[in-house]
């Protein structure tokens, strides 16, 4: 029987009611009395020297309040980078200054040059067009390999070149890896591109700055996944505002997918300008603006080689990756191709020797940073494509080759520095074979062939590292922040609870699933629990939501705080029941004395805490409110096996997804409905990357895919119903809920399944095709077949 509440129940989402009735409260819905609007004049060239900016005509335009340029921000800090990577020689990465508004030079199309604050957005835009900017255009560098050539245009004149860092991992293993390749019976090599993507949450970014002159208090309303991180980065590093005078609110946020983690110039601008103009200032991004100002994702060019012995055991893996940073370092950009990518290269396999090299490169493009999966999709794609190619070269079954090399004993220390606590890769593959009905594939292929279509089946595995992360570990790896999470549990006198979490929900359903956990722990109805998030004024310092960390880290903090509540409540109950504390049991919302029929209800205990007439005041304080900070001791390691069946139209090259199956191991699950929905969304984004989405620049650094007219977002008719299963569960061993996280799995596991399937279809159809770079658009597939 499915549960109808608590952990494991598919409780309906409470947040849905406001979203379904048009009564959500998104940042764009916030309007402050007297607010002005800002429009950013953005560079239309990729690289150039600003020789002059004349704002005099614009300043006299109707409605203009004030115009700002880079010179106005010389005294404040640049937008900081939150992670410092050390290169293979032990030296720190090159780190350019990232100004709020361009000063001296522009380095990518879309970089803000000037900002007009006016009464209305239309007036601000009208005036921005009247600003006269002279830019001496410089040659742009877009291609990463070109950027590293001698004499290439330098994105930053004060750096030694366009190389941000050259990272080797694990450097000490390099020689042994090379030797293993010399000794190999077979080597499979693959060059591939992990295509640049634009995250495209449906809500474009918005920021509203407000300032109270009487108190000196700043408030920023922003579309963020992590308001506390924004408060810290912007307050401490950019504007010099102490955190107690700066409140950051991220209300309902319409999707994030990584690109709303980062601190952006526009947030700093509206906060700064609200004080300068002494009125609230609002910025609303258009979708066109989003394409050239939201951090992009992926954009790796890799060469991967897999060495096998004569029995087809994997003996070594070697990869070389160029990772595009764009023109500046976005908040977590340096960590994505390194610690979120190199550490995942073992995948599900017991390959003993691995060496990963990553060259991070500056180019005249929008900064690149984490996008759903962040580094782990890039690792999985390389690995699962090269394993598939090896199987085809060796003439062995791709599933059998994987099974032969699976890690089967846990905990397992990989040669790339991480230790998997639990997993069962055989079980997820077994489950996949069951739900995918691979036995029926030949019949389905024959049916497709009758209709003139080539059918293919692609399979892959994935492992991810979620629940980021132990603070002391990431500190050693270069993180400039801790990665704990926090929760305050406030019990009201009449028994209801408010949980204030440092996590942030922007579609993941925390308001429902977090309440399920507390309801289960206390044994009360979910409706007695309210989840509050998103406002630094009423939540404890938290690090926010990304990296599938909310339930594993934020949920664990909430469990710890709730445990403290229960412990204190038991003390109160023992007093009320005149029994020893050690005899008190909590079940179904009541405290009882073990072995007796004496009990006191939850509400009586909470009332006593706030009306402490009969209360052990000499031993404990009144009130019932506890805070906990949780810092994980390891990452969590969700894993799974995915399959995709495609049909390829040999006349047009069009690929259609006929079937997609996912067998995941997320450890314990709080709300199966929500988990399934998270997988669905990840799958759509991964399939989108594999078939549709591509962010393209021309050689001059002009963005060609600058709107939905040219950037193909997956639509309902591009996608099938998915078969998703998460019945394989190996609970995480080191967090109290045994949970692993599920937000990114779909996006990590699905691209190789799609590409493997298309290659399979073409090869079965007699085409000599071993690889096609994503996205597998009709024109690319058709060209590959010619």
């Amino acid at each position: 029987m499915p549960k109808d509440g608590g952990i494991g129940a598919s409780s309906k989402r409470r947040e849905d009611v406001r979203f379904l009735t048009g009564t959500g409260n998104y940042t764009e819905d916030i309007n402050i009395n007297g607010q002005a609007h800002v429009f950013f004049l953005r560079s239309d060239v990729a690289h150039g020297t600003i020789t002059s900016i004349d704002t005099s005509t614009a300043a006299d335009m109707p409605g203009v309040v004030q115009i700002f340029t880079g010179a106005d921000f010389e005294a404040v800090g640049g937008v900081p980078c939150g992670w410092q990577v050390t290169d293979k020689h032990g030296d720190p990465m090159q780190e350019p200054r990232h100004p709020v508004l361009a000063h001296g030079k522009v380095r990518h199309v879309g970089e803000p040059i000037a900002a007009v604050v006016a009464e209305t957005l239309a007036q601000a835009r009208d005036a921005a067009e009247a600003i006269e900017v002279d830019i001496a255009e410089l040659p742009a560098v877009v291609n990463m390999r070109d950027a590293l050539k001698d004499g290439a245009p330098k994105v930053h004149d004060d750096l030694t070149g366009n190389l941000c860092y050259d990272w080797g991992f694990v450097e000490e293993n390099k020689e042994a890896v090379d030797q293993a390749f010399r000794d190999a019976a077979h080597v499979t090599k693959l060059e591939l591109i992990n295509n640049r993507l634009v995250a495209n949450p449906m809500e474009p970014r918005v920021a509203v700055g407000d300032y109270a002159r009487g108190t000196g208090d700043h408030t920023l309303y922003t579309t963020s996944q992590n308001p506390h991180v924004i408060r810290l980065l912007m307050g401490a590093f950019v504007l010099g505002i102490p955190e107690h005078k700066l409140r950051v609110v991220a209300p309902d946020v319409g999707g994030g997918f990584g690109t709303k983690i980062f601190h952006y110039q526009e947030e700093a601008f509206v906060t700064f300008a609200a004080k300068a103009c002494n009125r609230a200032v609002k910025w609303t991004s258009s979708r066109s603006e989003a394409f050239m100002s939201d951090a992009h994702g992926r954009d790796h060019v890799s060469t991967i080689e897999l060495a096998l012995d004569k029995d087809n055991n994997f003996t070594a893996l070697r990869t070389d990756t160029y990772a595009n940073m764009g023109a500046y370092l976005s908040t977590f950009a340096p960590s994505v191709p390194t610690w979120l990518h190199g550490t995942l290269m073992a995948g599900n396999y017991k390959t003993p020797l691995i060496y990963v090299n990553v060259k991070a490169v500056f180019t005249n493009t929008v900064p690149v940073d984490a996008y759903r999966g962040a580094g782990r999709p890039e690792a999985t794609y390389q690995l699962e494509r090269v394993v598939d190619k090896a199987a085809r070269e060796l003439g062995v079954d791709p599933i059998a080759l994987r099974r032969q090399n699976f890690i089967t004993e846990f905990p397992y220390a990989t040669p790339v520095a991480v230790e998997y606590d639990t997993g069962d890769y055989v079980a997820t593959m077994d489950k996949l074979e069951e739900i995918g009905d691979f036995g029926g594939f030949e019949a389905r292929r024959a049916e497709s062939a009758k209709n003139g279509k080539l059918r293919g089946l692609g399979v892959n595995c994935y492992i991810e590292a979620c629940g980021i992360a132990p603070s002391n570990l990431v500190g050693q790896l270069g993180a400039r922040a801790g990665l704990f999470e926090s929760a305050t549990v406030r019990v009201n006198a009449t028994g209801g609870l408010v949980v204030m979490t440092g996590s942030h929900s922007h579609g993941q359903g925390h308001e429902t699933s977090f309440a399920q956990v507390v309801a289960e722990m206390i044994g009360i109805d979910e409706s007695m629990i309210e989840i509050v998030h998103g406002d630094t004024a009423n939540t404890p310092m938290g690090m926010g939501t990304y990296g599938s960390r909310s339930i594993a880290v934020g949920g664990s903090a909430m469990v710890r705080a709730t445990e403290k509540i229960i412990n204190k409540a038991k003390k109160i109950a023992s007093h009320l029941l005149e029994a020893s504390e050690s005899d008190i049991e909590l079940k179904d919302g009541a405290f009882s004395v073990a072995g007796t029929d004496k009990s006191v209800a939850w509400g009586d205990v909470t009332l006593a805490a706030y009306v402490p007439h009969n209360y052990p005041l000499e031993d404990i304080e009144p009130g019932l409110e506890e805070t906990a900070f949780y810092d994980p001791s390891n990452f969590t390691y969700p894993s799974g096996a995915y399959s995709c069946e495609v049909e390829v139209d040999p006349e047009t090259g069009k690929v259609s997804i006929e079937r997609f199956c996912a067998a995941d191991d997320f450890g314990n699950i709080i709300n199966p409905m929500i988990v399934t929905g998270q997988v669905h969304g990840g799958l759509a984004q991964g399939i989108g990357q594999a078939l549709l989405e591509n962010c393209v620049y021309d050689d001059n650094g002009q963005l060609l895919s600058a709107s939905y007219m040219d950037y193909a977002m997956p639509r309902a008719d591009d996608l099938p119903f998915y078969d998703v299963d998460h019945s394989c569960q190996t609970p995480c061993t080191h967090n109290p809920l045994g949970v692993k996280g599920c937000g990114e799995a779909g996006a990590i596991g699905s691209p190789p399944a799609v590409v493997n399937a298309v290659v399979d279809a073409l090869q079965r159809g007699g085409k000599d095709v071993t690889h096609i770079d994503m996205p597998l658009t009709p024109s690319r597939v058709w060209a590959a077949m010619q």
């Binding site: 009208d126 006349e651 950037y711 977002m713 060209a783």
Partner: protein, 263 residues
């Protein structure tokens, strides 16, 4: 958008008068024009909305057996009301844009804009339609003059389009995956006196007639009749969604499929 005045005439005569104002521009359903204005790529001082003009709306058969569609008729209405008269055309209309776009976008607006990837130009040229304006009648063969270029004068309004109804017809669209406009669209229509084949989405010169295919199909209306015929990729649009060669290839494939599906 730059600001502009909006006029909402209820007769063609009033619309013509309003379009006499300085820098006035007609506004059909606005499904292309309004996004263009948002990008500030045009700056009319007056927009004259045509969607409130009753005499420019509707679908009917004329006495000489042509299908007449008012210039301000939305795609959704054409999809519904032309279905029993001219199923190939109705089917084309039912696949333009998306449902909400079809409720606003009009045939006159589409033909006046002549987007090189739009569907209606293929139908008009492929049917040998007559474009009727507030001033004159223009044969489709004379009307389309390259990307976004037509025979219309400044301020001239497409009030009606008359389609000869073929024996059988079909439109095959291969969509550009992002915009969902035609990467290549081919309209094939068989009349008693021959076959017309019009291609949209493919050419740098906008919609065009594939005369070689017309000749081949006129003597043998079968998909195989176009085997061996090929267009040059050099004349085709080449962009991030497909090369000229790919588009040229697709024209052949879509033509054959349109013939096979023609009803």
């Amino acid at each position: 958008m730059y600001n502009f005045d909006v006029e909402t005439p209820t007769s063609i005569a009033d619309a013509v008068k309003a379009l006499g104002r300085e820098e006035a521009q007609p506004l059909g359903g606005g499904q292309t024009l309004i996004p263009t204005l948002k990008q500030r790529l045009a700056s009319p001082s007056v927009l004259v909305s045509l969607t409130g003009i009753a005499e420019m709306k509707g679908v009917c058969m004329t006495d000489d057996g042509q299908l007449a569609i008012g210039g301000a008729t939305p795609h959704a209405v054409v999809a519904r009301e032309a279905a029993r008269h001219y199923p190939g055309l109705a089917d084309l209309a039912s696949h333009i844009g998306d449902p909400a776009v079809r409720n606003r976008g009009t045939i006159g607006g589409s033909l006046a804009n002549n987007d090189p990837s739009a569907c209606y130009p293929a139908a008009a040229l492929g049917s040998g339609a007559t474009i009727i304006t507030d001033k004159r009648e223009i044969a489709a063969d004379d009307y389309f003059q390259g990307m976004f270029a037509t025979a219309l004068d400044e301020g001239e309004i497409v009030t009606e389009v008359r389609f000869p109804v073929p024996e059988v017809s079909h439109y095959q669209k291969f969509v550009q995956p992002a915009s969902r406009f035609a990467l290549v669209g081919v309209f094939v229509a068989r009349f008693g006196d021959g076959v017309r084949v019009a291609v949209t989405g493919a050419s740098n010169d906008g919609v065009f007639r594939w005369t070689e295919a017309e000749t081949a199909l006129s003597s043998n209306f079968a998909a195989d009749a176009v085997n061996g015929l090929a267009l040059s990729g050099a004349d085709m649009i080449s962009d991030l969604h497909g090369s000229g060669d790919y588009r040229a290839h697709l024209v052949g494939v879509m033509t054959k499929r349109a013939v096979a599906a023609a009803r």
